[in-house]
Symmetry: C2
């Protein structure tokens, strides 16, 4: 890691432009209160010297870092097999970039990492944190809130006690699930089943609730546990067919699960959608479009979720009247393809 060439300082620019350091600083930071000819001269000097402000020096005095931590707890590889996270990251990145903020990525696995992340955030290296709290029992949110860093969560956090005023962005999992199930019912299906996601995640819980909202008791026995993976979907679908051979529709907690279910249905000789209609959730394109038949599913605007999280973090203070309910829930839309 060789040292780079010495970079020009404010001082150097000031000398070149024949003004004081203070003036250069003003120009660099927007140029308010400096007369035009001077601004011009300073700009040129900056240009000629290739001056770039030293962020460390600036942070030292402003106590701002123009950097935001993105914390992703990913105990399993699941997060990564999943375009979900990547899309969200992209939304976040765009928004941060638009506001000249940097994205510091913190991946955690295991308990030790939690401490590390907690320490880092408490260290005041970043102006805020965007946290994906994937599991109900995750200690991370608590740690982070204790660190006193402004935080926005991705997905409704799963705890109910202790932490208040938590800001989060989520999809309307429950409403989307309702739409999906209603669609199936509207198709005339009467034996509608649900393969759940991993129920230690609120998204899975909420989708299950949406299913129950529509099906009520009628759906009670048609709920099978899955885990958001294709393998889980296969397992659940087998169990379902064994237990209730007359099932004529399946609402799967996500597209991967649906893909697994589809495979089992084909294997067992059921036609989709004629015999069994199938709906997924997420609208992960590479999956949903490539299944056979293409998957009807519930779309959420994942990238927008990311962007919104970032926006909330950066501007949250100003825009939010105090006492505003802190969760933002984005709508979902049903995307009709061939499977239902």
């Amino acid at each position: 890691m060789t040292d780079t060439a010495p970079r020009p300082t404010l001082e150097a620019v000031a000398a070149r432009a024949g003004v004081s350091r203070a003036t250069v600083s003003r120009v660099v930071n927007g140029g308010d209160g400096v007369r035009e000819p001077l601004v011009e001269r300073v700009r040129r000097a900056v240009e000629e010297l290739g001056y770039v402000p030293n962020q460390a020096a600036r942070s030292l005095v402003t106590r701002r870092h123009d950097a935001v931590a993105v914390v992703v707890a990913e105990p399993e590889t699941r997060v990564f097999a999943d375009p979900f996270f990547a899309l969200q990251l992209r939304g976040i990145s765009k928004e941060l970039t638009a506001h000249d903020n940097q994205l510091v990525l913190l991946l955690t696995e295991g308990r030790d990492d939690h401490a590390r992340v907690g320490r880092y955030l408490a260290g005041g290296h970043v102006d805020g944190a965007l946290v994906f709290s994937l599991h109900l029992d995750d200690p991370l949110p608590g740690l982070i809130q204790r660190a006193g860093v402004p935080t926005v969560f991705g997905g409704r956090p799963g705890w109910s006690d202790g932490l208040r005023d938590v800001v989060y962005v989520d999809s309307d999992n429950r409403g989307g699930a309702r739409d999906a199930v209603r669609h199936l019912v509207g198709l005339g299906r009467t034996r509608v089943a649900h393969i759940t996601g991993a129920l230690d995640q609120t998204s899975a819980v909420d989708r299950l609730e949406g299913f129950k909202d529509v099906m009520g008791d009628a759906g009670r026995e048609l709920v099978v546990r899955g885990d958001f993976t294709p393998a889980g979907g296969e397992r659940a679908m087998r169990e379902l067919l064994d237990r209730c051979p007359d099932v004529d529709a399946v609402f799967a907690a996500n597209d991967l699960t649906a893909a697994g279910a589809l495979r089992v249905l084909r294997e067992r000789g059921r036609r989709v959608p004629e015999d069994v209609a199938v709906i997924g959730f997420d609208d992960m394109l590479p999956i949903a479009e490539q299944t056979d038949p293409p998957l009807t599913t519930v779309r959420q605007d994942i990238e927008e979720m990311g962007r919104l999280m970032a926006r909330l973090l950066l501007h949250g203070d100003e825009e939010t009247p105090p006492g505003t309910p802190a969760g933002v829930v984005l709508p979902t839309t049903l995307v009709r393809r061939a499977s239902a």
Copy 2:
């Protein structure tokens, strides 16, 4: 973005421990040259006050940042549909974490972003950069090298001129391709085809070269262009079947392509592997294991690639004798499943 509570400074710790700032600094940075009882006292003071060093102040004088930029050029969404990038990121993250470095993620799309990234890197905010240079004509590598930041590339960069002493980590794409094709030949196949990847990426070029190494002229007319996507794989497979109906084996440039090809083969009533054997590349688990039949493919240790990139960046200077060839190529292994 509320201000956090005022954090204790070195001065405060020094006062509490009854020593000088310098001594506390020494202890915090490893404690060499400080006698045990003092070290103990300082440690306790640090503990009690919850002192965390101010990274900005430290960077200001040391000119180190303990931060590394990861630059991902992702003009298309492709990168993100792809666990590849995520796995590599994970390897990088692990290695960086192990050395107390932070990961600053820079996603770029489009030309303007290039300038932005160039400026950022030139600004000396990070100690080094890990760059995924996906396309042959990417201007980013040039920009970065000009910025004078130590850099390691992911994947062999595609240019041949201008830039020297480029450090990169890559898989043995060519060798892996050779293994795959040899395996097909060993199976007794004589009409072995290749569906290429996007040929503006070196990985695709190298895999094609590997194919040619084994097949020579015999394979000339059995090469079809793909683009690393399932749709591209389908298109190419159709073209291939139309042009050479007697094809009995396909080496696809990656698993996604192979998945597309498999679909077309099924659609056209060819049995895999009986009529046509198929091999992919990458061993992306969610894909390779879920295809029908499960895909024989070439595995690369993607996470290890990431880890190695980080290691090279952090320790490159010390370990590398000057003049060492700068590319590190990781081996691949053929994973036999059912498709070939």
